[in-house]
């Protein structure tokens, strides 16, 4: 294990910094060679052999094994669709955006391989609406790929046809949730569906549908190129390969870093070639290990020395690597303020479909606002914790359950749970300074 980057998915970006997004730049760095290779394989073998052997897990957040997801597709049911989740909206996550803008051909190639593997002839990219440059480069890439015979009818003479439709989202975080994404793609209001049925059985237009993340698909060409088994040699345990981490907050060198899974958070945050430590040199107070939805970890040795291993952090600390966004805070930061700011995001983005999230996220936001702005009351943290439990019962003991349809509700509780776990005294102390009386006028009656 080294605390440096392991460039696989992002290799082209360094090789061709001037033109990695163009067809020429991409071809010069080996693009579409894996596709040609894949087209010579038996379609099912790609998933069952290569991808399964690679141990590739979804890079969108849930970390579900990609080959297993494909295998859930209702057999003998056609047409089936591949939907690319390019609605990257998790606060502090910016890896897919980079891939789309700087290496759209890797995504197109990955889509073509995946579509060939699951016998799909129409793929949809649900692109975050704000990605203006990404949209331009992606549509150019698709146009060029079609011109070169990497898309369209009879790709590279293989007899396999594929069209890609790019759809731009309209600015809702919830549309990153796969069933809400499908609803939105169908022209409905973006709200999660009740599952079952799962998309693999009845997804887009009620047909079997695979929804894959951008990074997951962009990894496929490398798995084909190097072979699934060799890919699986990278990484640790069941967290194989590399992942791109979006590093932000109190680090000297914020940015996207592709590293081999298994290095520690300390490596990621402090290695001179990666985060480079806090700019102030002050200690890390806490950090968010896997995107805004995740519960937090602290600057303790136990946490910093934990490996970037999806299962390990889940089982040991009840947190997730999620979308791979690591936000670092030094000891000058008021954790309640961070919790409030995150809660505000989730309260704003709650789709409004189910009660606990629609109402609960807003309630949490209001209380955290008070706490973080000096208006806290002594029992506020207990109240928050209790409200959080109404959204995700057993929130401190992963795996918790949820009373909501999708994970957005529990995401809104992550900050509260983290305050409760690590900063209880600090928050209570903060609250004791605030007004104790409930500011209502009912007392005037006496």
């Amino acid at each position: 294990m080294t605390a440096t980057e392991t460039r696989l998915v992002t290799a082209r970006l360094r090789e061709r910094p001037e033109d990695s997004w163009t067809m020429d730049g991409a071809l010069a760095s080996g693009a579409y060679e894996s596709l040609k290779q894949a087209l010579g394989m038996a379609p099912e073998s790609i998933g069952k052999e290569q991808v399964a052997a690679s141990g590739l897990r979804g890079r969108g957040g849930a970390g579900f094994p990609a080959a297993t997801k494909w295998s859930f597709l209702a057999p003998d049911s056609f047409p089936r669709y591949l939907v690319v989740n390019a609605d990257e909206g998790e606060p502090s996550t910016f890896k897919d955006r980079m891939l789309i803008e700087l290496d759209p051909h890797a995504l197109v190639e990955g889509i073509a391989i995946a579509a060939f593997a699951v016998s799909c002839h129409l793929a949809f990219i649900y692109l975050r609406g704000e990605f203006a440059l990404g949209y331009e480069r992606l549509t150019d890439a698709i146009r060029d790929a079609k011109a070169k015979g990497f898309l369209g009818a009879n790709i590279q003479g293989s007899g396999f046809d594929l069209e890609i439709v790019v759809h731009r989202g309209a600015g809702a975080y919830i549309c990153g949730e796969e069933s809400a994404l499908i609803e939105s793609l169908e022209g409905e209001r973006g709200m999660p569906r009740i599952k079952p049925p799962f998309p693999a059985v009845a997804g887009l237009y009620a047909k079997p549908t695979v929804v894959n993340n951008v990074e997951t698909l962009a990894t496929l060409p490398h798995i084909i190129a190097m072979g699934g088994e060799r890919y699986a040699e990278l990484g640790v345990n069941k967290s194989t390969g590399t992942r791109i981490f979006s590093l932000s907050g109190h680090v000297k060198r914020p940015g996207n870093y592709e590293v081999e899974l298994g290095i520690t958070f300390r490596d990621l945050i402090f290695s001179p070639e990666l985060g480079g430590g806090t700019p102030s040199g002050r200690p890390v107070k806490f950090f968010i290990p896997g995107g805004a939805s995740s519960q937090w970890l602290t600057g303790s040795d136990e946490h910093l020395d934990a490996p970037l291993d999806m299962d390990f952090v889940q089982q040991t600390f009840g947190v997730m690597l999620g979308s791979g966004a690591v936000m670092v805070y030094d000891d000058t930061v008021n954790p309640a303020l961070i919790a409030w700011r995150l809660a505000k995001f989730f309260a704003h983005e709650s789709c409004g479909k189910c009660t606990p999230c629609r109402e609960g996220a807003g309630w949490i936001e209001k209380v955290l606002y008070r706490i973080s702005h000096g208006e806290g009351r002594p029992n506020d943290l207990d109240l928050l914790f209790s409200v959080g439990n109404s959204i995700s019962p057993g929130v401190l003991n992963a795996p918790f359950t949820q009373t909501t349809i999708c994970p957005l509700g529990p995401s809104a509780v992550s900050g509260v749970a983290s305050l409760h776990k690590y900063f209880r005294e600090e928050v209570i102390a903060m609250c004791s300074n605030g007004p104790r009386a409930i500011p209502v006028t009912a007392g005037a009656m006496q």
């Binding site: 009740i194 409004g352 189910c354 009660t355 629609r358 109404s390 949820q402």
Partner: protein, 907 residues
């Protein structure tokens, strides 16, 4: 329900709910299965007539072996499922969800219409936490806002359950309300400049689980605990939706839909729901009147009845039975129709009797077609809609047809002159020029028979039937009053040739079917028998019948215009408003001799009457009515009218007495028993049966025994109005229950039908027909029911002038009719009068939308505003028949096959 399903062999599975093991239909949703076995799982968003969405999260339960807490409303039962609805985890979720729902709820229960019958209140008391810990500022909205002319929205009270939006989208097909914004700002909203102008908007108020949606006519009119209710049938049109009629202080204030499986599925149209206000209007006639010195003046009932009897006696003496005529009778009950038929035909001995006004279909056709039931739409091979725009004329039948087409995959074919509400659900819309529908019908029938028509739409229509089996349900109405009824009859004759064709005769006027069935039509006697077939039978029973067939309404009006009608009875009749030929109606009324008006209001038609006999209205009298499928259901008295109005039938009996015939009928139930005894189609349908038949009785019951569900006389339930209200319930009992108890017990008592398993066919006939139907006197045989021989006159086909447009004049829902005009809530809903043209015709005439044009037929002329409409076929012009001031009648000659118009600009 339960009993029905059990007896019809639905697969059952075994599940355990809170330790109790029960058998439930496989695949049924857990929430419903639990409810039918006495476990009420709290819910807000789930409604059993709509698709589950699982969004309120109130019905989360624990299921052994299932991770987390799945919603009972989206989880189908599976064999061996073990469900816990009472565990600490479930309880804690219920507390949590209710606390969440209340944090932004204004808790303004004391000033909320829903307070006292509010599902949120009730559920909070039964399942919620004791108090709220929310001390932040609540969400604020401007309130209330009008989302339509009838419905107001209070967004602060809304709990975002989407019942209203789903109703509008899934059930009504009017997706005019939706969620706007998201998160805590989620609100129900209409689209800009497009109000929630659905004919069914009142249903959203009924199913709203809070007071977020309120109905303008009911707002602040009553508190739930002051209301008492009876079950009745709405008679605004001929659908006869089951409904709970509520009053406070002897004033009707609210009508709620009851969930009758065979009829309305719990829904009402707004016209029915809010139309009852008419009976409270100031200008209701409250006392009898006679004309003295040219003025109608109030008098006593004996004076008025004597005057009426004298007038009739004089006319009979002068001109004989054929000089007496009766128009109307379709707005009353079956009892009214029967006793008036007996009076007219058995006492006055005239057959000049017609409940229609030349605006319907001949009784011989309407009564004699092979009938279908409304529920037959659901599994029909196809639905053919001939002429009628159901959305405008029979709105809840539109909902049923729409559901069959949109949700159940039944191909729907329409044969109409213009687009209708069902057009977007039709697999084929076959447009025909006025008067030419028989050609279209003939082409469709031969295409179904395998001969391609060469017309894409017709062949597509026929193709949609391939591979399907069952009945072809033809819904026929009289759509275009500017064409002769023969045109429709010709098309009906063609469609009747389809194998397994069954007809729903969708004539709109409320009890027109009951009136025709009971003999208020020329050539017919009560019980769906022709004058000839029933002559011996009724002579025996009544002592006399008319000697020969009489005139229909148009004939009566012609005769009256020729001074040949010495006495005319207007039984709730408004020929000026209803006869297609306004000139004929005017001349007829002017030429009629002694005129007796039996009505609730003074109208232009009865203004000149010599005697005015005021009658009770719907809601003020008990009785039965027959809907368009032949289902006899009860209507119930809820309030006592001011003044001395009498039921129609009693007036007939009183007049008979004055002409020396004692009918010996004291109550509506006695009339029902007499009908059951003498009217062949009603055999067995006596008062005792009608009291117990939950869904009424379909005539003749011997053929429809499976439609008969007999139960206890009443089953107490709560009047909780947001859930489907089970029929056969004793609604009066609801008011007494505590609110929380109401929710808890609702589950146990809901399946009212379980008391009444359908009786076996043999039982029905033996119980019903066995004892009572035997003739009183062993004389003539029971006459056979009338069937139509399919003989249709060949419609004449007048040539067309290339410059003329052929008129289509159909009814719209909110009209110029007496009841609608007397209902303040509808005032703003009446559309402006416009002549609608195809854009090409409009341009050819050289006018723009909104310009005034002069239209002229052979009969008359009108000046109107013109507007292009994509639903109008080139070469035709559409003018609503029944809008106030439309005046279409002045253009129409009832004897002409079609009405051609010249349209010219008068800019």
């Amino acid at each position: 329900m339960t009993a029905t399903e059990a007896s019809t062999g639905v697969d059952l599975v075994s599940i355990t709910i809170d330790g109790k093991t029960v058998q439930v239909p496989k695949g049924e949703l857990l929430i419903k299965a639990a409810q039918e076995h006495g476990t009420y799982i709290p819910r807000f968003c789930w409604h059993e007539r709509m698709k589950p969405v699982g969004m309120c999260r109130m019905c989360l339960v624990e299921i052994e072996g299932v991770r987390g807490l799945p919603p009972a409303c989206t989880t189908p039962v599976a064999d061996g499922m073990v469900v816990n609805t009472l565990s600490d985890a479930v309880k804690s979720v219920q507390d949590g969800v209710l606390e969440f729902l209340l944090i932004n709820h204004p808790l303004d229960c004391p000033v909320c219409d829903r307070g006292g019958e509010c599902p949120l209140q009730d559920t909070t008391l039964a399942f919620g936490p004791g108090e709220s810990r929310f001390t932040e500022e609540k969400r604020h909205w401007e309130k209330p806002i009008a989302i339509s002319d009838l419905v107001l929205l209070d967004r602060e009270r809304c709990i975002q359950c989407a019942r209203c939006t789903r109703f509008a989208d899934e059930i009504a097909g009017d997706p005019l309300i939706t969620f706007n914004e998201r998160s805590g700002h989620t609100e129900i909203a209409t689209f800009p400049d497009e109000p929630f102008s659905s004919y069914f908007s009142g249903n959203t108020v009924q199913i709203c689980p809070v007071g977020a949606l309120t109905a303008k006519p009911y707002r602040f009119r009553a508190r739930p605990w002051d209301l008492t209710a009876v079950e009745t049938s709405c008679t605004t049109c001929s659908m006869h939706c089951r409904a709970a009629l509520e009053s406070s202080s002897n004033r009707l204030v609210r009508l709620l839909g009851i969930d009758s499986e065979p009829v309305n599925h719990g829904w009402l149209c707004d016209k029915g729901r809010f139309g009852h206000d008419a009976i409270n209007q100031e200008d209701r006639v409250r006392h009898p009147m006679v004309r003295r010195n040219g003025e109608l003046v109030a008098c006593s009932w004996p004076e008025a009845l004597d005057a009426a009897a004298d007038g009739l006696r004089n006319a009979l003496a002068k001109g004989g039975a054929s000089s007496v005529a009766l128009l109307g009778g379709a707005r009353g009950t079956n009892e009214d129709a029967y006793v008036w038929a007996r009076f007219a035909k058995g006492v006055l001995r005239t057959d000049n009797v017609d409940a229609q006004f030349g605006d319907g279909l001949p009784a011989a056709v309407a009564l004699g077609l092979p009938h279908a039931l409304i529920s037959d739409l659901d599994d029909a091979r196809a639905i053919v809609v001939l002429g009628v725009d159901l959305k405008e004329e029979v709105p809840v039948l539109y909902l049923r047809a729409r559901r069959a087409a949109a949700e159940l995959g039944v191909p729907l074919i329409e044969i109409t002159s213009a687009a209708t509400g069902l057009t977007k659900y039709a697999v084929a819309s076959l447009r025909h020029a006025p008067g030419e529908q028989n050609d279209t019908a003939a082409a469709l029938v031969s295409a179904i028979g395998g001969t391609a028509a060469g017309d894409d739409a017709i062949d597509a229509a026929a193709g949609a039937l391939s591979g399907r089996s069952g009945q072809v349900v033809v819904i026929v109405g009289r759509a275009n009053l500017a064409e002769h009824a023969d045109a429709t009859v010709g098309a009906v004759a063609k469609l009747a040739e389809i194998d397994h064709a069954g007809f729903l005769v969708a004539l709109r006027r409320s009890n027109v079917r009951g009136a025709l069935d009971l003999g208020l039509a020329p050539g017919f006697l009560p019980g769906r028998v022709s004058l000839e077939a029933g002559r011996d039978w009724f002579e025996e029973l009544w002592g006399a019948v008319p000697s020969e067939p009489g005139l229909d309404a148009l004939g009566i009006l012609e005769a009256a215009a020729d001074q040949r009608i010495g006495a005319l009875i207007l039984l709730g009749a408004d020929p000026l408003g209803d006869c297609p030929d306004a000139d004929l109606a005017t001349r007829g009324l002017a030429g009629a001799g002694f005129t007796i008006a039996v009505d609730t209001f003074i109208t232009p038609s009865n203004r000149a009457a010599d005697v005015f006999l005021p009658v009770t209205a719907w809601g003020e009298q008990d009785g039965t009515v027959t809907n368009l499928e032949g289902r006899v259901q009860r209507v119930t008295r809820k309030v006592t009218p001011e003044g001395t109005a009498m039921p129609d039938w009693r007036i007939a009996a009183e007049l008979a007495l004055r002409l020396r015939e004692d009918f010996d009928l004291a109550t509506a139930e006695e009339v029902q028993d007499e009908i059951a005894r003498v009217a062949p189609a009603f055999a067995g349908v006596d008062a005792a049966l009608l009291r117990r038949a939950r869904d009424g009785a379909v005539l003749p019951i011997a053929e429809h025994a499976d439609e008969l569900v007999l139960g206890r006389l009443s089953i107490p339930i709560t009047a909780a109005s947001w859930e489907p209200i089970a029929p056969g319930a004793d609604l009066e009992a609801g008011g007494e229950d505590g609110a929380a108890e109401a929710v808890v017990t609702a589950g146990e008592s809901e399946p009212a039908g379980s008391e009444g398993a359908p009786i076996a066919a043999g039982d029905a006939t033996s119980e019903a027909a066995g004892n009572e139907v035997a003739p009183v006197v062993a004389g003539p045989e029971l006459p056979a029911l009338h069937t139509w021989d399919g003989h249709a006159p060949t419609p004449s086909r007048p040539g067309r002038d290339a410059y003329a447009l052929r008129l289509v004049s159909s009814r719209v829902l909110y009209d110029g009719g007496v009841m609608a005009q007397a209902t303040p809530a509808f005032a703003s809903l009446v559309r402006p009068v416009e002549l609608r043209l195809n854009a090409a015709d409009r341009d050819r005439i050289g006018v723009s939308d909104g310009d005034r044009v002069r239209i002229a037929s052979a009969r008359g002329q009108l000046d109107l505003v013109v507007r292009a409409d994509t639903g109008v076929t080139a070469g035709t012009a559409v003018l609503a028949w029944n809008l106030p001031g439309a005046g279409a009648g002045s253009l129409i000659d009832a004897s002409a096959p079609v009405t051609d118009l010249r349209v010219e600009s008068i800019r």
